[in-house]
């Protein structure tokens, strides 16, 4: 099982105020587009893409990213991650990120769309030094089936482990198996169709910014349910149940805006893709 369908590996460094990749390697069905600098902050943006158009039976993808001191990077995808039916083996994606002190990495992929009878497992492992900043979001959609039924995939499993200063600081494990669970019921998706998760880790985290983000989400006039809480390490997590990708993205954009303004005195660029 050690053979990968696609591998991507990148080392990023800060060279005179501009973040550049000192090494980029990719192989198989995993690619990265040329770097884009949205503004003059020196922050680089990489769009990841899957030339095959989606994950198939038994596909295994691996991404390794490291950011040196002072490097600033946005990682996003070019479009939604689609997982097609997996009759034999689940599709798997593993991401390992190393962040040195003073680095900034935001990993903001497009939503996950698992098709009928798809099984998908994703594992993100982050290693951060004190003084690094990590921003992460993901959106799980109800998937796709020919007759429009929601949650027709077999299973979706999302694991995120964040190591802070050499110790495990966050362990997040979501696993939806619609055939075995009453997903629309109490305790599960509570009648909503989309699940958004955001994790922010930074020494700059304070109760006041969490309160500000909470109040700002509360003023949104959209039908969502959300929870926000401080983690064991400096940072917080946000969970949102909603009825569309757009609603969840709207909340994420708002949060990222507040964080960038408060901590870095900058306005995040739009990651326009379409």
């Amino acid at each position: 099982m050690s053979k990968w369908t696609g591998v991507l590996s990148m080392d990023l460094e800060n060279r005179k105020g501009k973040t550049i990749a000192k090494r980029v390697f990719f192989q198989g069905a995993f690619k990265v587009m040329r770097p884009i600098y949205h503004d003059d902050s020196g922050k680089v943006c990489y769009y990841l893409l899957n030339p095959g158009g989606g994950y198939l039976d038994g596909d295994r993808y691996k991404m390794d990213i490291s950011a040196e001191e002072g490097a600033k990077v946005t990682l996003t995808t070019q479009s939604a991650t689609k997982v097609y039916k997996t009759p034999n083996n689940y599709a798997y994606q593993e991401t390992v990120i190393y962040l040195k002190k003073g680095s900034y990495l935001e990993y903001l992929p497009d939503p996950l769309i698992a098709y009928q009878n798809a099984r998908y497992k994703q594992k993100n492992v982050i290693h951060m030094e004190k003084g690094a900043t990590f921003l992460y979001t993901d959106i799980l959609t109800p998937g796709w089936s020919p007759n429009g039924d929601y949650f027709s995939f077999d299973s979706v499993q999302l694991i995120t482990e964040i190591n802070w200063d050499g110790k495990l600081g966050v362990f997040d494990h979501i696993k939806l198996t619609p055939a075995q669970q009453n997903l629309s019921g109490l305790g599960y998706m509570e009648g909503y169709s989309h699940l958004g998760s955001m994790i922010i880790i930074s020494e700059q985290t304070s109760t006041s910014i969490i309160d500000e983000i909470y109040q700002s989400i509360e003023t949104e006039e959209i039908d969502i349910k959300f929870g926000l809480s401080k983690l064991e390490v400096p940072g917080f997590s946000l969970r949102i149940l909603g009825n569309s990708t757009q609603h969840i993205e709207r909340v994420f954009t708002k949060c990222l805006h507040i964080i960038n303004q408060k901590w870095f005195h900058r306005t995040p660029s739009s990651l326009r893709k379409y």
Binding site: K167, H173, Q181, G187, Y188, Y214, G227, S237, R239
Partner: protein
């Protein structure tokens, strides 16, 4: 053996002063939303809480701690204490669990005087470990030579019966209704204990989105009778 079971029953008593009665683990958010309002809706919440959260966290940890004690793999215990604490993303439930764990540990240490308990407490005092009731309970049960299956079952029983007591006070339900629920719930506990024995270690920490969200939302509840 009977004396040992009696000794463990003392830890299952919902009157045990660990502070467990002041933590609803998100139940109060559902009560305030009007989603949990009677014996039927509470039963449904309790079922989901047991099968979608407790088995993957506290329940699986009981089993893994028991195995680690049997193999004298003490490092594994400290690792699990760390893991079960950081997987608990809602701050209130995480802090509440630590508090209950520590109080139960101090009480258990004075009642049973087992060296592992003292070691665990010293680690917490030195901030090397966090403290968790499922770990304390498993240490005591293992020390009393209670079987692994029974350890898991009794732990689940104690966790569930505290929540029944909470529901009786908060919804509120009559005492008889509470007892009826506990009685009717027995097959669920047996089934949960069986599932735990079948789980893979990789299943650790699975959370159900709605339950977790209700635990996070509780932090913003203004008028409350529970701390979580």
């Amino acid at each position: 053996m009977d004396n040992r079971i009696l000794s463990l029953f003392q830890l299952c008593d919902s009157n045990l002063p660990t502070g467990a009665f002041s933590h609803s683990f998100g139940l109060e958010s559902y009560i305030q939303d009007g989603k949990v309002k009677d014996p039927e809706s509470f039963y449904e919440w309790l079922r989901v809480y047991l099968h979608e959260q407790l088995i993957y966290t506290d329940g699986l940890v009981c089993r893994l701690i028991y195995d680690a004690l049997r193999k004298k793999d003490i490092q594994k215990i400290w690792k699990l204490d760390h893991l079960i604490t950081v997987q608990n993303l809602p701050r209130e439930t995480r802090q509440g669990t630590k508090m209950i764990g520590y109080r139960m540990l101090k009480l258990a240490e004075s009642l049973y005087g087992m060296p592992t308990l003292s070691q665990y407490r010293e680690r917490i005092d030195k901030k090397q470990s966090y403290g968790h009731p499922a770990i304390v309970f498993s240490m005591v049960a293992h020390g009393l030579e209670v079987s692994k299956q029974n350890t898991i079952l009794y732990y689940l029983y104690s966790a569930v019966s505290s929540q029944v007591q909470n529901a009786v006070r908060a919804i509120p339900l009559g005492q008889t209704a509470g007892q009826t629920i506990t009685h009717k719930f027995q097959p669920e506990l047996t089934r949960a204990a069986e599932s735990i024995m079948q789980l893979h270690e990789d299943d650790f920490g699975i959370v159900s989105p709605g339950l977790e969200l209700s635990q996070m939302k509780h932090e913003r509840v203004n008028i409350r009778i529970f701390m979580s």
